[in-house]
């Protein structure tokens, strides 16, 4: 459930954010959601109904791997890790994102005086 001040992850950026998080360490789905909230200071929220399909889809595309492991509460959990193909995709997405942010910033800077 969304809390006050939280925003949904922008459409199309979920894959990118999840890959960024998984590039650092191997995590299970719940930890990915927690990490995303933690790193964005609780501003971004990955809905459960979007996060798990996204993980499944990325695994099918070969960007991440999953394996069953023991979780912190001694329960079987599915841990996700990034693959070399996932790292290559992440680099491409990072470049795209950087140019997108640069373009938007330029537009904002160019129209600053219009306010």
């Amino acid at each position: 459930m969304k809390r006050r001040g939280q925003v949904d992850v922008l459409q199309g950026t979920m894959d990118f954010l999840v890959l960024r998080i998984l590039a650092r360490e191997k995590l299970h789905g719940y930890s990915i959601a927690r990490k995303l909230a933690e790193l964005s200071a609780s501003a971004l929220q990955a809905e459960e109904g979007t996060l798990y399909p996204c993980l499944y889809r990325m695994e099918r595309q070969g960007w991440i791997n999953s394996e069953i492991g023991q979780s912190e509460n001694n329960r079987k959990a599915r841990y996700y890790s990034i693959t070399p193909a996932g790292r290559a995709h992440l680099r491409r997405e990072q470049t795209k994102w950087d140019s997108f942010v640069k373009a938007v910033t330029t537009v904002i800077a160019g129209t600053e005086g219009d306010k």
Partner: protein, 265 residues
């Protein structure tokens, strides 16, 4: 088909497993903060919102809803449409044979009940879309019922043959009965095929047989200048064009009425 079924259940199972794990960990977190089990579960549920909604959203994203399964299965189908009632009939036949002792009674209506249940609603649905085609659809439904009666009469005759002589052994009787079933199934297929071909070649307005077939195109070609056969209704209701891929009916409207309008010279 089985591969498609596995592909459909895989993501559903995974999502369910992950959402359950997610809820469990959230509950554990609240327990660690000092809540009792019930309060922890309530808080976890409140935080997660409707799990059903999340599940449905996930299924939609992964194309794993029951509707997706139906669409996928229908895309896998390669057989002709009239095969469906036959397959359904055979399945229900074997199911009923397991439970009902009177074999002859079970076989007699099973196939036709399935055929009627599948085809009559289709006819009625088409009928309601094109009201001026009511004669054609009424003809289709009536002939289908007639075929059902004929099929059952055939089955009764086959059963009478089976019951007639005292068979030397039990095995012999079983073999004859199996042969009867095979003949009956083949007969049903043939009847449904005849019904299907017969109704396709009739006028959609008056249900009269279409006449004066005119062939055009090349017989060896399937895409460009494919062989096409056009037949017309002799009462001027329209033309049916059939090629390898499909058949299309082009109605003529009311030009015939226009011709015989009173006062026209």
């Amino acid at each position: 088909m089985i591969k498609h079924l596995i592909e459909w259940t895989g993501p559903r199972r995974r999502v369910l497993e992950e959402l359950r794990f997610h809820a469990e960990l959230l509950e554990q977190e609240f327990l660690a903060l000092g809540c009792d089990r019930k309060a922890a579960r309530d808080l976890a549920n409140r935080r997660l919102g409707s799990t059903r909604k999340s599940r449905q959203q996930a299924y939609r994203e992964l194309s794993a809803t029951p509707r997706d399964l139906l669409i996928g299965l229908s895309e896998q189908r390669t057989g002709p449409g009239w095969l469906t009632p036959i397959v359904l009939g055979i399945c229900s036949l074997f199911l009923q044979l397991l439970f009902v002792p009177d074999v002859a009674m079970v076989v007699s209506w099973t196939i036709w009940a399935a055929a009627l249940c599948c085809l009559i609603p289709i006819e009625v649905a088409r009928w309601s879309r094109k009201l001026n085609h009511w004669r054609y659809h009424l003809y289709s439904v009536t002939t289908l019922l007639g075929a059902a009666l004929l099929g059952n009469a055939g089955w009764m005759a086959l059963i009478a043959i089976w019951r007639l002589p005292p068979w030397p052994t039990q095995g012999c009787s079983v073999v004859v009965f199996c042969a009867d079933i095979i003949v009956y199934l083949l007969g049903c297929c043939l009847l449904l095929r005849v019904w299907s071909v017969n109704r396709t070649g009739r006028c959609r307005r008056c249900a009269c047989p279409l006449r004066l077939p005119d062939e055009s195109g090349r017989s060896g070609s399937l895409l460009i200048h494919a062989a096409t056969r056009s037949s017309i209704c002799i009462h001027g209701h329209g033309t049916l064009t059939r090629d390898y891929w499909h058949s299309a009916w082009h109605g003529c409207g009311a030009f015939w009425d226009e011709l015989f309008k009173p006062g026209r010279a």
